[in-house]
Symmetry: C2
């Protein structure tokens, strides 16, 4: 046998309750790897063009990767994908925790959910067996209650649950999938797809072991990591994400009041250092990872009770529900974050939608009549918490904001559009392209809309830091200034994103500081493939291009690869008050991006490029 | 210091005898590596467009690579490059032996020879010192005599000599550079460039040591190799090249009578097995290599005395001077090969030129009047030996054939052109594109004209053999049938050739069965760069593209990327008598090749591709 990897893919049709297991050949695994690669493959191959993302024809894919569940730090993730109800295009998000590893131990690499259950159900996957179970009694429950009941009725306290709360049930377009109550496959509305299928949860338990081709090699890599992680990931280990937000604010990179203003004066109050000193009660980690970067917060003082089972806010939540709404009340942010996990809605899109509404309110486009009496000005912490509730429950203005800022702006009218900060309908995450120019291009061209999870954060290569040192392994040999958006920067974006996407296929955590050489060694050790970083980089490029092809088929065009108006204007104050993204330079960078990707001048992958990526069948699809 | 590699490049101007040493920064080494990479860099950067390849403005570059001279099997090579007097385009050839390692031990990575000496000179490079010495007394000598005298006058029997004989002195357009008397940097006429500069030889001796960043790792790789090479390279070890030519003939892959006929009936008589049984007196090897694949033959019987100091014929010589001329007299072939090494002319182009003349003769285009009375029919062994003499000495018809088949056909006229089997003016080596379709495309698009040294020999990937197993490391996961010339095959050609070109930069021997994973480990261990197979593959692509850019600037166009008419017709007999290259399929494959390389429809690299390869300066050059 030339290649070492074999696995099983579970296919569950909720309409007719048909369940099958498929065992693709190992070249399939080698070509598409797992995670985002599987999502791209199945969506392209099996979805009819232009299906309703919230209809039974959409498919929802939960996929682990070859590394998931292997005893190696960073290998605890899984991916969730479907056609996105938020963007109408390629939808995919990843999540850490233990669920992915559990899925692998239960004998599955991926679960493809098809159709739509007549009434609420959940899936129970245990040691190779799959069962569709009634979930009528779980529907409407918070994720915490729901997980508790599922564990009780399956009689297993260690069962891992990926699920939705009210947000997913109510088809909030940016509802997420919540895992272990505190981790979210956050972006592109995968929780809404889950809700549309009447699928409350997938509960998983396995007692198997993930096969590793070269356990000695893997052990030595793990050992190296355990000896070095405190140096390599000290801040993450100590604070988790969101440390040093004061510094981010000082550079203009902390989104403030719907990306309108500059320096956020309250950054110090909401950063991870403050959390550690005040509300933090512990740190938790993902499967096999010693970094343990996940904050657990607990608040027990009446106004903002926060239940620690829901973890704590990451950087994106702190900024989206905090500074971007002008809020510096840490406890309110923790509460809003807890509600997002309780109801399964994405913290970024939720916060950004509220920020959008706040700016509309301050400009008289929304009034107390529309807000239901809420004084929706920037900085009103109480209003943010209430709006999260209203969004999840689709009450009042919440019902409109649950559609995301693009649709909300269309509904509201009166020029609200100018405050809708999104790309392809997905709200922009908490990193500013006026500082990070490559990231802006990355937002514009990402198949999922604005997304920080496969994007280059320019700062990492502006100096001779560790990120440049790592990227030198791919041939990025010299620093590139922050303000540069020329071809050198475009090249760096492409090289970097190829690996980010690969990480989303392998499901290796980006926070875990494996360099490209070691990542390649990990894949070799786990799979037994005599693979190289060349083959692996090409997987990243392949999957990026497949996601692109999916969007092309769904009708996306060049004009959709663009930034919202806001970023073409400076911030109102602070260090970025005299600089903004130049549309001409962005257009030129996009042109280089297309060409370097082997796409035509309209951003459509050429047949030659698709053949070069060993996916000629995608060209056949596009030509149909 | 981020990168570990430092070195020295010697620049010698023979016109004004100016000698300098340059020490480029390590990113230069990392980007262009060495060998063919340096050749491409210096030719593009420093040559004015359209200079006379035999004039003083041409530059002749001898370049080792980072691996050269390190204690690792396969690391004994060096490259020689210049604008080619044969093709008028990018000229480059590699050679094994010990000279490259000696150059490194003498403290140099490369020597750039500029200008032209007024009278014959040679260079002596000893332990960091360079000296231009008179060579009046050496001019006209056979390489054997010349080496002897150089060693005597420098008082060092271990000095290594790269040099020319009569062929180079007489500016035979395919004169080669001979190293250690028996190894040739054979193609594209580098010996003629040397002759044009009045440079007889470069003699090198060094007592230094090549620095290795991770000696333990390199030792363990070497150890693995020594333990395994007899299995991995058994035939090479036992016979050298040219074993099993009977089998090659049976598949139609042994060029016979100027690529006209099929199965060569005398293959058994001239293959390496026959050599071992008859005229072979030993085997020799290159620096640090235990395979020892180089035959030494000795014949001492009057008619064809062959001096063993000149080694023995490789496969290319056996076919070019043998079957392609219809000759099955092994001893005559050995003599002709010896003369080629004695006079420094390329065995392939020499044999192919004679075969061309033979076909002209048999078709009445050449007569005894032009041949000086020689009965130049196919199979006349005596005539082949005599013609080699006449070519080197530019006597009679030899003077015309010394120009290569393209120019010879033009001079001869009368339709001789149809028998001129060349690409871009370089004679086709001994592998038939009617069997190996990707190789045919490789011939057509190679920057050096027909060349087997950076080309895919399709057979290796038609089944599940070791070559496919290796290429799987780059993502070529399934066998591709021999007759396929579709995009899959084009992709395989590109991926494979990227590494062949990289080998020509690193100067790792292709015969030494390092797979891509181990080659990457070797580079890491020697240089200390934390490099990956991705960065390295991109070097191969970069250098291929630079060579392309050089040719574009010299005026080469799409039509030059084409095969000679012969291959569009079947062989006259044997297994390939009913198949040939389909021009339409070749045209389509060329189109895919251009597109996959990121070149425009005319084969010109786009700025975006050049920027993506981190050589935007080449785009500036092309736009001038």
């Amino acid at each position: 046998m030339p290649f070492g990897y074999v696995g099983r893919i579970l296919r569950v049709n909720l309409s007719d309750e048909h369940i099958v297991t498929e065992t693709p050949e190992d070249t399939f695994y080698r070509r598409y790897i797992g995670g985002e690669g599987f999502v791209a493959y199945y969506l392209l191959k099996e979805l009819k063009p232009r299906v309703d993302p919230l209809g039974p024809e959409n498919k929802l894919i939960f996929a682990a990767g070859p590394v998931t569940g292997a005893p190696i730090p960073g290998g605890g993730r899984n991916s969730v994908g479907a056609k996105s109800p938020l963007t109408g295009g390629f939808g995919e998000a990843e999540v850490g925790g233990h669920w992915g590893a559990e899925l692998k131990k239960a004998g599955f690499d991926a679960v493809i959910v098809e159709g739509r259950a007549e009434s609420p159900v959940y899936l129970a996957l245990r040691d190779g067996e799959a069962e569709i179970r009634d979930a009528e009694h779980l529907w409407g429950l918070d994720t915490g209650e729901s997980q508790k009941m599922i564990r009780e009725e399956l009689g297993d306290d260690l069962i891992r649950v990926a699920q939705i709360g009210l947000g997913g049930e109510n088809l909030v377009r940016y509802a997420c999938v919540i895992v272990d109550l505190k981790d979210a496959a956050g972006r592109t509305g995968m929780g809404a797809v889950m809700g549309s299928k009447n699928l409350k949860a997938i509960a998983v338990r396995g007692h198997g072991r993930v096969e590793v081709a070269d356990p000695d090699k893997l052990r030595s890599l793990s050992k190296w990591f355990v000896q070095n992680f405190k140096n390599l990931a000290r801040s993450l280990h100590e604070y988790g994400t969101g440390a040093g937000m004061e510094g981010g604010a000082a550079s203009g990179n902390l989104p403030t009041r719907n990306f309108r203003d500059g320096l956020f004066e309250g950054a110090r109050l909401i950063q991870a250092e403050a959390i550690k000193e005040t509300v933090r009660v512990g740190m938790e980690g993902c499967y096999a990872c010693p970094i343990r970067c996940k904050k657990v917060v607990k608040i027990n003082e009446g106004r903002w009770n926060v239940d620690p089972i829901y973890g704590g806010p990451e950087y994106e939540a702190l900024a989206a529900l905090g500074s971007d709404c002008g809020v510096d009340d840490l406890k309110a942010i923790c509460k809003a974050n807890e509600l997002c996990n309780r109801y399964s809605i994405d913290v970024i899109s939720a916060g950004a939608s509220i920020a959008f509404a706040m700016e509309c309110y301050e400009n008289g486009i929304l009034t107390r009549r529309e807000t239901g009496g809420l004084d929706l000005r920037f900085g009103n912490a109480e209003a943010v918490v209430q709006m999260v509730e209203m969004i999840a429950k689709r009450r009042g203005l919440g019902d409109i904001l649950a559609e995301g800022v693009k649709r909300a702006a269309e509904k509201i009218g009166k020029g609200a559009e100018k405050y809708a900060v999104h790309v392809k309908g997905q709200e922009v995450p908490m990193h500013d392209p006026r500082l990070k120019r490559a990231l802006g291009l990355g937002y514009a061209v990402s198949p999922t809309g604005a997304d920080h999870m496969h994007n280059l954060h320019d700062m990492g290569i502006a100096g001779r830091g560790s990120q440049l040192r790592d990227l030198a392994s791919l041939g990025i040999l010299e620093p590139i200034p922050l303000e540069d958006l020329g071809p050198r920067k475009v090249r760096a974006l492409i090289y970097f994103v190829n690996w980010r996407v690969l990480d989303n296929c392998l499901l290796i955590c980006d926070f875990v500081p494996w360099d490209y050489v070691k990542k390649t060694e990990i894949v070799r050790a786990v799979t037994g493939w005599n693979t190289t970083a060349y083959e692996l980089t090409k997987v990243g490029e392949r999957v990026t291009t497949m996601a692109r092809a999916f969007n092309i088929r769904e009708g996306f065009r060049k004009d959709d690869d663009w930034l919202p108006e806001r970023f073409f204007h400076p911030q109102t104050s602070g260090p970025l008050s005299e600089t903004s993204v130049d549309p001409e330079r962005l257009r030129e960078a996009r042109r280089f991006y297309y060409q370097m990707m082997g796409w035509d001048e309209n951003g459509v992958p050429t047949r030659a490029k698709l053949e070069e990526l060993d996916i000629g069948w995608v060209a056949d699809l596009l030509e149909k």
